[in-house]
């Protein structure tokens, strides 16, 4: 067995290595010092809250997923008869298989979320303890805790897709199996939608609710342990950024991987016809690339180190660059081994694998670009944040206007970068010389898929940096709570600032990868629709025609596109409003505790933190149902009423609208947040050069902007990422419904 034939076995091998490495990291983190008893107490309280959250949140989601799985299985069993099936599997069998794939996808996503959250919540107290002695130690503890999440999310998604693929006959019939496992991606999307929505509502409701009832009503300081909602607030950081973003990227990797495999089928057929060696490698390619990305990230984790006096961001950046460079090298190796086109060469006599390697490099470069773009728009050292801080001098209204202008502005560079990445990777792909029997150059679309997979190679590292955020945020809270020595707090503050940046970066990365992937997902949908249509035509249908375009100039497609773009706004409106209502239920409960437990105020009674956590969870889960239902129902209704081409229109225009609105909300929110921090850090000065700092009207104005930005950047924006991908997986799974 030569290298080209053997390389597919790196998928389970590297996947398992990554899981083992995550366990090693978890063990390493759990063994570390937990600090004095006071720290351990606070840590335990947060842990208690997080467990309360995990239990209820995932119970609800599991219930919803079960119901959804049964419905999907039933619908497919009834609708997708032999005449509209896209593979040789159809009817009841296909229904059951899809339902099972859906459940496995949902379960893997939940498992990654639960374990990741568990370690993340255990890491915070150890990070606080490490911060008593060493900056580097604290960075490593937080980063390794975060990396547990990162590796588990990516490795479980990899192993899950591969197992389903193998289970559904992919090793024997690689050209059929990708279509059978789309349910896996839909399951992941479904869990991600509710995990992100619920988590996003939770974290901001706890934030706003605890502030209003504690600081404003009861007149006690922020983060005061007498406020029963404070633990919910700390739990919320983990819920939104760790579990939510983890589910978001789990879905990205899974759904985009499956989409890329579907596009790989077209090249597989060409390779088979041309007699190229190991044609199935074109289908395995996306999985193998991700497996190598995991290995690159494992190596990079050991590069997260530095001097005690170094900017912690540098240590993380070092690791990120190592991941990127190793990924590029791995990409060259993998494309060279897997994309053998005996004799056939692409444009200018350059072999296909080099063209596709360039596509992958475009993906890696897009990742780097978004890391820096996000920094420019949300970090305090550049024009946009300064502009908002300056506008705060004339009050909250001008602060909001400036922040809105910045948020709107960020769409320009985002759209241009994504557009350039798509055009470039598509162009490189068309040069590879991969032409099908009908003369279509399928290399272009496959090129965008390769770029997406290239971008996703660094996903585990990005996610580790993201989870670094809530861990250090919590570590700061724990240090504050437990009155740790001054040095510890100073270190956690520095880490927290870095964590804010990494959280923002991850959102930029998530939205960019979703946009880059959007294109391959549309085409996977069209491939699936055409498989069904081709079968109908072969069966003698005279009305069916292959879908060769999504004509947005047709009335039904245009209207569907309008509805899709509207959905992004309407969904965000519901999500933003949900935060307000959930905050109300927290306020109600904390008031009750103050009233019925008079000992709280003089510290003789311990507030019932878990109850507030539970109520916040219930409320957040209750509030997530409506936006979630709207997100799921809208494409189904439009597809049923207006047909499959209109569904594609909704998907495509909805993706454009959702990506841009998420960019506005994420970056606007991040810029407002950092404008406040910019003022708090004493960088804003008046005409005479005097510092305008905390407790000034300008600072109060900046706090208004920060509060407005909270539900934008932590609830609506990230939920839109998931919405966009849900549209893709949902239409992919339910395509047969729209074809009648």
């Amino acid at each position: 067995m030569d290298l080209a034939a053997a390389i597919q076995w790196t998928i389970p091998a590297f996947g398992i290595i990554a899981v083992l490495f995550a366990l090693y990291l978890a063990r390493d983190v759990l063994r570390r010092d937990q600090g004095p008893q006071a720290m351990q107490d606070v840590g335990a309280t947060i842990f208690e809250g997080a467990v309360a959250f995990i239990r209820r949140q995932y119970t609800t989601i599991a219930g919803l997923a079960l119901v959804a799985a049964v419905i999907i299985a039933a619908v497919i069993a009834v609708v997708e008869g032999q005449n509209v099936a896209d593979t040789s599997v159809y009817g009841l069998e296909l229904g059951i298989r899809t339902g099972i794939a859906f459940l496995v996808g949902a379960a893997c996503s939940m498992a990654a979320g639960i374990i990741g959250m568990y370690i993340s919540v255990k890491s915070n107290v150890r990070t606080a303890a490490a911060a008593q002695h060493s900056l580097v130690g604290a960075v490593q503890t937080a980063m390794r805790g975060g990396a547990v999440s990162g590796f588990l999310v990516v490795a479980l998604s990899l192993l899950g897709v591969w197992s389903m693929f193998a289970l559904y006959g992919g090793l024997d019939h690689p050209e059929e199996a990708p279509f059978l496992i789309v349910g896996y991606g839909f399951g992941a999307s479904f869990v991600a939608l509710f995990a992100q929505l619920g988590g996003g509502i939770y974290t901001k409701a706890a934030d706003v609710g605890s502030d209003l009832v504690g600081k404003v009503e009861a007149g006690i300081p922020e983060d005061d342990p007498r406020n029963a909602a404070v633990i919910a607030d700390l739990v919320g950081d983990n819920v939104g950024d760790c579990a939510g973003r983890g589910a978001d990227l789990f879905e990205s990797t899974a759904a985009e991987n499956i989409g890329a495999m579907i596009l790989g089928v077209a090249v597989y057929l060409i390779a088979q016809a041309a007699g190229w060696p190991e044609p199935q490698n074109w289908i395995f390619f996306p999985l193998v690339v991700r497996a190598f990305g995991l290995v690159a990230t494992i190596v990079a984790i050991f590069f997260v180190r530095g001097r005690e006096d170094e900017d912690p961001m540098n240590m993380l950046n070092r690791g990120y660059w190592v991941t990127t460079i190793l990924s590029a090298i791995a990409l060259a190796f993998v494309t060279n081994v897997m994309m053998e086109t005996t004799g056939a060469v692409g444009a200018n006599g350059i072999p296909a694998w080099i063209w596709f390697f360039l596509c992958g490099v475009v993906g890696l470069a897009t990742s780097v670009a978004f890391v820096y773009i996000t920094q420019y728009y949300t970090a305090g050292s550049f024009r946009p944040v300064k502009e908002i801080a300056e506008a705060s001098k004339t009050g909250p209204a001008t602060n909001i206007i400036a922040g809105t202008a910045v948020g709107f502005e960020t769409t320009a560079v985002t759209a241009v970068c994504i557009g350039a990445a798509l055009l470039l990777s598509h162009y490189f792909g068309t040069q590879a010389g991969v032409i099908d029997a009908n003369g279509n150059n399928v290399g272009g679309i496959f090129g965008t898929a390769v770029a997406t997979m290239g971008m996703l190679m660094t996903c585990a590292f990005i996610l580790a940096m993201d989870t670094f955020g809530p861990i250090t945020d919590n570590a700061g809270g724990i240090a504050e709570f437990s009155k740790a020595e001054g040095g510890a707090r100073e270190i956690t503050d520095r880490l927290d600032a870095v964590g804010n940046t990494t959280k923002a970066l991850t959102k930029g990365y998530a939205i960019a990868s979703a946009s880059l992937a959007a294109f391959l997902l549309f085409n996977a949908y069209i491939d699936k629709v055409n498989l069904i249509l081709a079968r109908q035509i072969a069966a003698g249908s005279t009305t069916a025609h292959l879908m060769t375009s999504v004509n947005v100039d047709a009335v039904s497609v245009f209207v569907a596109g309008l509805i899709g773009a509207m959905l992004a706004y309407f969904f965000s409106s519901l999500a933003i409003r949900a935060v307000g209502r959930a905050a109300g239920s927290i306020i109600f409960e904390v008031r009750r505790q103050f009233r019925e437990m008079p000992g709280i105020m003089d510290y003789t009674q311990r507030p019932d933190y878990a109850r507030v956590v539970d109520i916040t969870t219930r409320s957040a889960l209750h509030e997530m149902i409506l936006p979630g239902a709207v997100a799921v129902a809208t494409p189904i209704v439009v597809g049923l009423l207006l047909g499959y081409e209109a569904a594609a229109g909704l998907l495509i225009v909805g993706t454009i609208g959702g990506v841009l609105l998420a960019t506005v909300l994420n970056n606007g929110g991040g810029a407002w947040d950092n404008a406040k921090k910019y003022i708090e850090a004493g960088h804003l000065v008046d005409d005479a050069g005097a510092v305008i700092g905390k407790r000034t009207p300008a600072h109060a104005a900046a706090v208004v902007g920060d509060t407005v930005g909270d539900p934008f950047k932590d609830t609506a924006g990230p939920s839109l990422h998931v919405l966009v991908k849900l549209l893709a997986t949902l239409t992919l799974v339910l395509a047969p419904l729209f074809l009648r």
Copy 2:
């Protein structure tokens, strides 16, 4: 000559009647009492400012238009040679004709704006004077003053399109002329873009600047005559709402009319082949419908009357309903006369004219729907505004969050209504049995054009109601300034509240008509592209293919769509930011006057109002250049780089994005405005039932929302209307540039 052959002559006849009626109304208004000397003085000062504005604004725009006309003529002369021409006119001759059409369109739009502004500014003092004695008198003065604008805008656009059509041989070759006059629509768009942008920046810069420098810095009351920027503020109301919206709707009627005529060409060819009588009527139809709409509006103006104790909104609504009902009757008549299809009938044996009549009714109904939707979302008596007012209790941040949620929410009903109108009118159109030689059912697209023309029948009345807004707003300011007796102020306050509603309605109407029309404009673009392609194919080109779809799943089209949707955000960002910068230049000048003219403060010196007006104008005109240039350049660059199909993608997805963002900005801004008014009117109560009114923290929070909403609803939102239409007319004129 029978009725069907003669009906086209109603176009010039009714157009001239409408102009004469406008002159009659102007004469009627100008003859009315101007009140005491104090009133006349203030009125004269506003007039002085308005003239200063008009002079500079229109000089700049005329200069830009001249340059643009020369460039367009040159580009077309060079690019559109015989091989890519869409008609028998090409090369230099076509370039010159297009340039002339562009200039005539620009000139008509400017003439309508100038005359309308002139009368509007003359009407305000007379409205204030009338308010001393009679509510009905004041309503009639303001409404007739507004109607001068309304009639001139619509009639000049009608006569302009018709004259160009006749001049360019439309009476002999009706199937060629519509393509030759697209420059007229582009000229109107071009002027509208700058008139609306400049006006929008002007009005809000003056508003914000005068408040900051007067109330905040100098500590003098709002609207105090010592503030040199106050007159600029009053002038601004006219500039934005009267001149800006007038240019906006002038463009709508002109561009959509020409687009509808282009679509009519397809039906003309069918009618000619089938031997239906008077086939040219299908091309004249859009013009005739609008001519009848003008007559309906003339009659309706006389129904604007009522009792002294009646709600003024009722009087206006009465007129609106009369316009709508008369328009429906006229529509039945016109379709019956003009759409004779001897023998041929549509579905179910129902003749074509009835099906198209139904399309027109859909348009009229859409107009009514948007009038009520806008009221629901922006008037104080309904849930959305109340929700924002309630949220103000917890401060400015929750006010902004609630307002954003409301703004986002409004996209849902907007998209659904527009979608329903398009699907319905398209469906009715397909039932009419208008099938071309290739078997295409062109009735569907023509049906959406008929619906658009139906909607535009009430345009003059809507525009009169819109201009009613700034007139009554100014009348209130004049009454305040001149210390008129209490009764007058009470009446102008009531009228001002109505004016706020009518201004909001007009924006809803403008955006709905732009969306409904978008579809016909896309198709006009495709028709034009295909005419050129067909000529290339006939000339033996082997590479040219007719454009049968706008495939948004093609990479270049998708990227262009992404850029189009982004453009709406980026353009809005620039417009919002321009307001801030222009306000800065006002503050600078008023400070200088306070410093260098010490007599201002003790009333011994008169501030130099005209200078502030001029500086505001200069600054607004300077600031409008960048967003205007971006709006014009983006589609050209994308079309040149990515081709004609991508240009269509940018146009279509950009329209969707622009329409939705404009809806968010207009309705969010309107709701914030009225939430403030709701609190000021004493409708907000606390838990104990006590009123939370002016000078409370909740009111302060609502003021923040109102200020944020100002540039949203008066600068960015309305400018987006124009952007959307500019994209259509620009691509229509420059299509040959993208075809190489």
